[in-house]
């Protein structure tokens, strides 16, 4: 019996959609943030990457002021990823600090072939995953997913109420399911890539995603 409403043929997911999303997400991650309340100029006087390259070169030579500027430009994205991976504000702040300390230590490996923010992205994922593995081993550590206060106060980039609900639901997921959900549905990684990053089987990644989506839908009522 035909169902009512738009049929499934109304949207036929193209093959490789996840990859496309990831490419787009990477592009978003890579773009320099537009100034608050401002507009992106149609014509740039100078390649925006040129200034970043200069900052990186100075930082590679040990200039902390240049590195601070790189931090200021990227902390919002790094912290958002840490926050979603960790589900806890104070832990996310620690992780974000670890990311930039590690970035400083490894600046010599950055060759400028991509945007600095793109270079930071996998580093951030690795730091967050490493911490989760270490935390899992420390049995005595108290689970922190009950701490939802970070989402009670809107941040510099406030989303609508629905977005805050989503962040709360995300923070309440079990850590393994949350990591896979963030990496796959928020960041656009494929299961194969997630399996490589997290060290689990691809099937486990799929199962975790299914579980996470089901729990998210139950919480959000979608």
């Amino acid at each position: 019996m035909p169902r009512s409403g738009p049929g499934p043929w109304a949207f036929k997911p193209p093959s490789g959609l996840r990859h496309l999303i990831r490419v787009l997400r990477t592009a978003v991650w890579s773009e320099p943030a537009a100034p608050l309340g401002g507009v992106i100029p149609l014509v740039n006087e100078e390649d925006p990457r040129a200034e970043e390259r200069r900052l990186v070169s100075r930082a590679q030579a040990g200039d902390m002021a240049a590195f601070e500027e790189l931090y200021r430009r990227n902390v919002g994205r790094v912290y958002a990823l840490c926050m979603r991976m960790a589900g806890d504000a104070s832990l996310a702040e620690e992780l974000a600090q670890d990311v930039f300390v590690r970035a400083w230590e490894r600046l010599g490996t950055f060759r400028g072939e991509s945007a600095f923010s793109s270079w930071l992205h996998p580093l951030t994922v690795n730091v967050a995953l490493s911490e989760r593995r270490a935390r899992r081993r420390r049995v005595a550590r108290v689970m922190t997913t009950d701490d939802l206060t970070p989402f009670e106060k809107p941040t510099r980039t406030p989303g609508p109420e629905a977005s805050l609900d989503l962040e709360k639901a995300l923070a309440a997921l079990p850590p393994g399911a949350r990591s896979v959900f963030v990496l796959h549905d928020v960041e656009g990684y494929r299961h194969q890539e997630i399996a490589e990053m997290t060290g689990v089987a691809e099937g486990t990644s799929k199962a975790q995603l299914h579980r996470a989506r089901r729990m998210m839908r139950e919480t959000l009522g979608t």
Binding site: R3, A59, M64, V75, Y79, A96, R106, G108, T109, R217
Partner: protein, 220 residues
């Protein structure tokens, strides 16, 4: 296709990872099953909301002071490409680095016996000592950088005095031994962050030695 089978494929369906044949089967089922179609709509609604989440968040405090404090004592590792600092290579410095590594190796030996096998390019049989993706990624990164420097050294070593090359090779053997020992220790105690740090610093010492000798060879 049963509802159970359709629901099992819904994640792949909305992700666009089904084959054409599977896609067709699911679409036929959805066209005739209101319950599964509702599941699909709910899933798409969730993904639509996820797509709207802000890309940036602000921490509740400025994290920079803490970062600045931690990195103040550490200079960035030298660039393997692009800007480089001027190195003042000296045999004494190499000897000092080797001495530190011998000490590190000795420390690691306390924890566990050596495992792993170093290849000429610095790569190692990864699964033998860790499954940590971060460590494995770092290991690959170091292996790549080491291989590049080894290749550069290979083409330039004729310009160096034989006794210098002999000293360098001896240092590299010492460092590789230390790397094997640290990896063995990590295998025994994978959660120990000090061991990860020690592994990174030992790798870096190896890169430092290689970079200095390559630079020296290009200056002579």
């Amino acid at each position: 296709m049963t509802c159970e089978e359709a629901k099992e494929r819904l994640d792949d369906y909305v992700d666009g990872t089904l084959t054409e044949a599977e896609l067709h089967e699911v679409e036929i089922h959805l066209a005739g099953c209101a319950g599964c179609a509702e599941e699909e709509r709910g899933l798409r609604a969730l993904l639509a909301r996820v797509a709207e989440v802000p890309r940036e968040m602000s921490p509740s405090r400025d994290l920079w002071p803490g970062i600045a404090e931690r990195i103040a004592a550490v200079r960035p590792r030298p660039a393997t490409h692009g800007p480089r600092r001027i190195w003042s290579w000296s045999p004494a410095l190499l000897a000092a680095a080797a001495a530190v590594l011998v000490a590190l190796g000795g420390l690691a030996r306390v924890w566990s016996p050596a495992t792993g096998r170093e290849t000429p390019t610095g790569a190692v049989h990864e699964a033998a000592w860790t499954t940590d993706p971060a460590l494995l990624a770092a290991e690959r990164e170091y292996a790549r950088a080491t291989a590049q420097l080894m290749a550069a050294l290979e083409t330039q070593k004729a310009t160096l005095p034989p006794e210098t090359m002999a000293a360098v090779e001896k240092d590299l053997i010492t460092i590789d031994a230390a790397l094997r020992q640290v990896r063995g220790a990590i295998r025994q105690d994978p959660a120990n962050p000090q061991l990860s740090h020690m592994l990174a610093s030992t790798h870096q010492k190896k890169l430092d030695v290689l970079q200095r000798v390559v630079r020296l060879s290009t200056q002579t």
